[in-house]
Symmetry: C2
Subunit: 328 residues, 2 copies
């Protein structure tokens, strides 16, 4: 199984489509209200990784789709992702994202809520105009799961008793389902058989799980500079992620109490964070998370075995590897 040099090769392979994608994003973002464009630009143009559109593009190509009808869907998946970011930042009271001020910091929570709603409605409006009923089904199911996942996560805030299964359900819904839908769009456009459609859908799901696991790991290990956000943000926001859940399983009463206090504290200090990170490391919470993440990537890669070799298949495998190897 040939595996290329990471995301650079992926981007090079679909450079033409990625350029067209930026045009699609501009073209589809029609609105009578110029302010909406300003807010959306702030996020869409601030150096996101375009993982979801890239999955739409590669999956479409892998399935032999040759026209340009995948690009609006690639843009729409990014719009929906952007809508969730806008609302997430309000829910989390986040002040920065990718190193720059969040939209709610610049324009207020009100704008973030309403522009998120606009992006969401506009996305459905565009998909309805697109007229592909199967894609509409996949996407409306995905966004419903997504909203449920976000609510489940909110309900589990600061809950040190959160179970591993509950965490998996949260990240499955809030992250993996949309990456899965992105891949399934490619299968639907390429009109492949049900077996391949399912393989791509599951590929996206496992990649999504690995993506979020890695994100939650990096939140404990990265420096502010590389992740564009401060390490320890999850802890500050009371988000109980796998590294912590794993450590809590074996922690002493005293350690548990310290973590519980950290999760509910108004202000988590650098010292608190380092102590909790130390507890996580003691019980190998980071290694455990990395291992599960790699496991999902292995599953994902195996699922592509039923597709004949092609540059697009190699690119999807590279992307999968990149998901767990990235440091930002």
């Amino acid at each position: 199984m040939r595996e290329g040099p990471g995301m650079e090769g992926v981007v090079r392979l679909i450079r033409g489509d990625l350029d067209k994608l930026e045009n699609s994003i501009e073209k589809l973002l029609t609105t009578r209200v110029t302010f909406i464009r300003d807010v959306v630009h702030h996020l869409v143009k601030s150096g996101g990784k375009r993982i979801r559109p890239i999955l739409v593009i590669l999956s479409s190509k892998l399935c032999g789709y040759e026209a340009d009808g995948h690009l609006p869907y690639a843009a729409i998946v990014e719009f929906i992702h952007t809508a969730t970011l806008l609302h997430d930042d309000v829910v989390d009271n986040a002040e920065t994202r990718r190193g720059t001020a969040t939209a709610n910091t610049v324009w207020g929570n009100e704008s973030s809520v309403l522009v998120g709603d606009f992006l969401f409605s506009k996305s459905f409006d565009l998909m309805v105009s697109g007229g592909n009923e199967e894609i509409l089904k996949v996407m409306s199911k995905a966004t419903t799961d997504l909203a449920e996942g976000e609510i489940l996560e909110l309900l589990k805030t600061s809950d040190a008793k959160t179970l591993e299964e509950e965490y998996f359900e949260v990240i499955g819904c809030k992250t993996a389902v949309l990456l899965s839908a992105a891949c399934e769009i490619g299968a639907l456009l390429g009109k492949v058989d049900d077996e391949k459609r399912k393989a791509l859908r599951d590929f996206g799901y496992h990649v999504g799980m690995a993506f979020q696991l890695t994100d939650d790991l990096l939140d404990y290990t990265s420096s502010g500079k590389t992740l564009g956000k401060d390490a320890g943000r999850d802890l500050k926001e009371g988000k109980v992620t796998l590294p912590l859940i794993h450590a809590l399983k074996s922690a002493t009463g005293k350690e548990k109490a310290f973590i519980e206090e950290g999760l509910t504290k108004k202000r988590v200090t650098g010292k608190d964070f380092r102590t909790i990170k130390g507890i996580i490391e003691k019980y190998e919470g980071l290694d455990y998370t990395a291992e599960l993440s790699r496991g999902h990537i292995s599953c994902a890669k195996e699922l592509l075995a039923i597709f004949p070799d092609s540059p697009y298949k190699s690119a999807l495998l590279d992307l999968a590897n990149h998901i767990v190897e990235r440091e930002t």
Copy 2:
């Protein structure tokens, strides 16, 4: 043109459907997260007027639709309305609605944002499953307009220079478009010709305009007891509505300055409100608003002339009259 005794007669005529609607609302609100049901129940079951579902039901019946397929759409239109209420209350920092604490007061802004998102996604998911492409088009267009209207309104907050046309655009998008869509759903289910479809769509639009104009009027005239909210809430929130816009056209420099100050003040006192209401009355801003509202109702009623007489037509005419005559 026979016109009945108001909403009591309307409700009596479709009592069976309204009972079934409550079941539909329960049945369609499936989710793995029971918390979502609690939040939605808080709003959906708190004595809303069900104007939008009633429009779906009456329009369907008017157009000869005889099955039960209109009830899910009646429920969905109410879900979408509820989603906008959840988000509106976050945007407006509202503490009460219809006399009871808002969801954001009870469960926090985070829950209101995310449960609103869920209702919105779920509504699209249900409509996509319903498989009526024309209804999907109408509704996805309507919700996009709705989001734009909300943003336009936000941008005009505290802006004493807001033009009448701008105000009409705001209320057209944020209110009239959804009532218009509710009526158009009935036309689509009943499969009437384009002329009747357009008549019902426009009927809903004019009723919606009158509905919002009356709301904005009542905000200056009603007592807290009847409207379930304090009079003067719009002024406190910096909402520049027609009574004020009309008065500002003729007000003296001193009066204008007082109104401008009121719109930007952190705390509007009862005395401020009474002074500004006095200025509005001096320039007949309330009469002017009532007159425009009645004008829209006249237009709406004329549009139904192309439909043969029936109890459903009479009920729609009664509902139209009720919209401008109501005191709550």
